[in-house]
């Protein structure tokens, strides 16, 4: 071991409440985000044990997974029964336990991982947890953020701590500058393609390098969001001037003297030059192309210029899994990815439902239409993103192109609400998981960036957005 510390080491050290001899730590949690699907059993557990929420002022609830995204949802009669029950449970729990709460009637409601940063709940150097694996998103601020199960949700509610063992340190460096048409989504998918869905298991990833520094905060959130698909416990990016500028002035960000004090600490939050890394992965930005997934694992990533692989091109247990994916996806090895026709387009999710994502998609869609027979929905990540997109004229671009313009929620990313694919319907999706049945029973998902999804929407097949944009230059 060298004397230097990683960013992860520093945040970890600042949050250890107690360390047992075997290294098991009690870690203090600064922010606990709660949604309607993974919390009801935790609150029920508290009630049964006669316990309270230890730090209600650090606990924030927002419904997102199972909310309808269609108009009129403020009226419970317009929800399916199961949505209504989960919404009512969150409502009761939020009020009974006195935690911060953004119901669907509040313009600030949205996907929990978009609302947290937007409202300034997420700040550099914090520990952030939520009963959702994509909590990794908040790592973009240099916060140690990860998903937990419902038993751990209950543990955090009751104690404001988590029982944890420290993970290993993994550095993912993206050197150089991204080529035109290549985005944060292409970076994060390419990293998973290179390391596999278990490549980060047991590690916390810190993303660094010029291409990461050049990303906006929105792009950094996209990168960290999918750290979980790479198997990592969390993804982190050291905070810098962009982070501070994003945070400043947010409703729950510190102000005045507190801001100056916070800033002084935040500026120390970076890995030391002599820090120890257990694993290092380096990709050159110039080698990253716009990518899509072809299979049913997020590691099934290929540049859009590629062809569908044969199962035999893999080894070990992946051969069988690849064959299963090909059958499920209805694809033939050797076919060009750009020959894959699509039926649906989904733009949204905690991966790509922020304003920059909507701008990128609208840029491609401007003056164009959905290809005949293709349906499209745009689901902004929060009510505030939606309002901003309307103000910027993006909503008009989407509706002119033939997309449905929805209210905020997780929607077709996981298809809990009625926003689902039909069996064998094929979707160009800006979400994060292409698992079997993820977007609907037997539905077929191809993951990609918002610009790539918009390009596919226009042509009706998977498309290299660089070609489409070149046509109009």
């Amino acid at each position: 071991m060298t004397g230097g510390k990683t960013l992860y080491d520093k945040i970890w050290d600042a949050h250890v409440v107690h360390e047992a001899e075997d290294g098991t730590c009690l870690l203090y949690i600064d922010r606990h985000l709660v949604h309607e699907v993974t919390s009801p059993q935790a609150f029920e557990g508290l009630r049964m044990a006669g316990r309270t929420v230890r730090a209600p002022d650090k606990t924030i609830a927002v419904p997102d997974h199972n909310v309808p995204t269609t108009a009129g949802r403020e009226n419970p009669e317009n929800m399916t029964e199961d949505s209504r029950i989960q919404m009512a449970a969150l409502d009761t729990n939020a009020r009974d336990f006195g935690i911060h709460y953004y119901p669907v009637s509040d313009v600030r409601q949205g996907i929990v991982h978009i609302v947290g940063p937007e409202q300034g709940w997420t700040l550099p150097g914090m520990t952030v947890v939520c009963g959702d694996s994509h909590t990794a998103t908040h790592g973009a601020f240099g916060a140690l953020a990860h998903g937990i199960g419902t038993s751990e949700v209950e543990h955090v509610l009751a104690t404001q701590t988590l029982i944890q063992k420290k993970s290993k340190n993994m550095k993912v460096e993206i050197t150089g500058k991204l080529p035109p048409g290549v985005t944060a989504k292409d970076i994060t998918l390419s990293v998973i393609g290179a390391t596999g869905t278990a490549g980060g298991t047991g590690h916390v990833i810190e993303y660094c390098g010029e291409a990461i520094r050049e990303l906006s905060m929105e792009g950094r959130m996209t990168v960290c969001n999918m750290a979980i698909e790479g198997g990592a416990r969390a993804g982190l990016i050291a905070p810098d001037e962009k982070t501070f500028a994003y945070v400043k002035g947010r409703p729950h960000a510190p102000k005045g003297a507190a801001w100056e004090a916070a800033l002084a600490w935040w500026k120390t939050l970076k890995s030391d030059d002599d820090a120890h890394w257990d694993k290092v992965v380096t990709l050159k930005a110039e080698d990253i192309a716009p990518v899509v997934t072809w299979g049913t694992s997020p590691e099934d990533v290929l540049p859009i210029t590629g062809t569908v692989p044969a199962a035999e091109s893999f080894s070990g247990g992946k051969v069988g899994a690849a064959q299963r994916s090909l059958d499920y996806m209805g694809l033939t090895p050797g076919m060009k990815l750009t020959d894959i026709r699509i039926d649906a387009v989904f733009i949204g999710s905690c991966t790509n439902g922020r304003i920059e994502d909507l701008r990128a998609a609208a840029e491609v869609l401007k003056g164009r239409k959905l290809a005949p027979g293709v349906r499209g929905i745009v689901v902004p990540g929060s009510g505030l993103v939606r309002a901003q997109a309307e103000e910027e004229g993006l909503a008009q671009v989407f509706t002119d192109a033939g997309f449905e313009w929805r209210l905020a929620g997780c929607s077709m990313c996981l298809g809990m609400n009625p926003d689902q694919l039909a069996p064998e319907e094929r979707c160009a999706s800006t979400s994060n998981r292409n698992f079997e049945g993820r977007q609907g029973y037997k539905g077929r998902t191809h993951l990609m960036s918002p610009a790539m999804a918009a390009a596919a929407a226009v042509t009706g097949h998977l498309t290299d957005v660089r070609d489409l944009v070149a046509e109009t230059v």
């Binding site: 600042a14 409440v17 047992a20 075997d22 098991t24 009690l26 203090y28 600064d30 993974t38 059993q41 029920e44 230890r54 650090k58 199972n66 199961d82 949505s83 989960q86 449970a89 700040l123 150097g125 009963g131 959702d132 694996s133 937990i148 199960g149 419902t150 751990e152 209950e154 543990h155 104690t159 404001q160 029982i163 063992k165 869905t197 278990a198 298991t201 198997g231 416990r233 510190p254 507190a258 801001w259 004090a261 916070a262 600490w265 694992s297 070990g316 247990g317 992946k318 069988g320 899994a321 299963r324 996981l414 809990m416 069996p423 998981r433 698992f435 079997e436 049945g437 993820r438 029973y441």
Partner: protein, 201 residues
């Protein structure tokens, strides 16, 4: 939570790699606000057709594995969503132990909170146990948490690692919230110090 000490039982072979939590319990079953009753929907989309009929060749539908208490699975079991509904569904079906070369972090932790033991073993051990699993009741597997061994039907024993604290809680069926609350003074003291150091939090 039920204790886990030793278990001798039928293991079901699931060699597929990257079995994700959407496969283990699809999202339509996350609409419950309870922890129980999910066993019937375990692996729902692999186990039933659209009309709700059992798919005959799915392992848990075959007579040999209907009473399986152990799964022997491919790499990276439990990847994906943090949904604790996945171990709830396994437990409700009767699965108390999953053996694989690797697990996704959140799923792995969730198992321990529910009396399920996830065991990590190297590929050659998995291959050996997978052969046993294919024989159903003719090759029962024994898992001993205290000794940290998995013993195949032919007596070959494989040792596994487990975190001492997690082992202690599982062996004794302990509620870890109760254990943490015993450290309330340490939490109070941390909060007081942190409020000075980072008052903006």
């Amino acid at each position: 939570m039920d204790k886990f000490t030793t278990l001798t039982g039928i293991a079901a072979p699931m060699p597929l790699v990257n079995i994700d939590t959407d496969m283990i319990i699809p999202k339509q079953f996350l609409k419950t606000i309870k922890r129980t009753g999910l066993g019937v929907n375990l692996f729902d989309e692999m186990r039933y057709d659209r009309e709700g009929n059992e798919i005959a060749d799915f392992v848990l539908n075959q007579p040999a594995w209907r009473d399986a208490e152990i799964l022997v699975a491919g790499d990276n079991f439990g990847c994906g969503s943090s949904r604790e509904h996945a171990p709830w569904a396994l437990l409700d079906f009767g699965i108390r132990c999953v053996i694989s070369t690797s697990f996704a972090d959140i799923f792995y932790n969730n198992c321990f909170k529910n009396g399920i033991l996830p065991v990590v073993l190297p590929q050659d051990a998995i291959d050996h146990l997978m052969d046993d699993a294919r024989k159903g009741a003719n090759a029962r597997i024994t898992v001993d948490l205290d000794a940290q061994t998995v013993t195949a039907a032919d007596g070959t024993a494989f040792s596994f690692d487990v975190d001492p604290f997690k082992k202690h809680c599982l062996l004794n069926g302990l509620d870890d919230i109760g254990l943490t609350l015993e450290k309330a003074a340490a939490i109070d003291s941390y909060e007081a110090t942190a409020a000075q150091a980072r008052p903006w939090v």
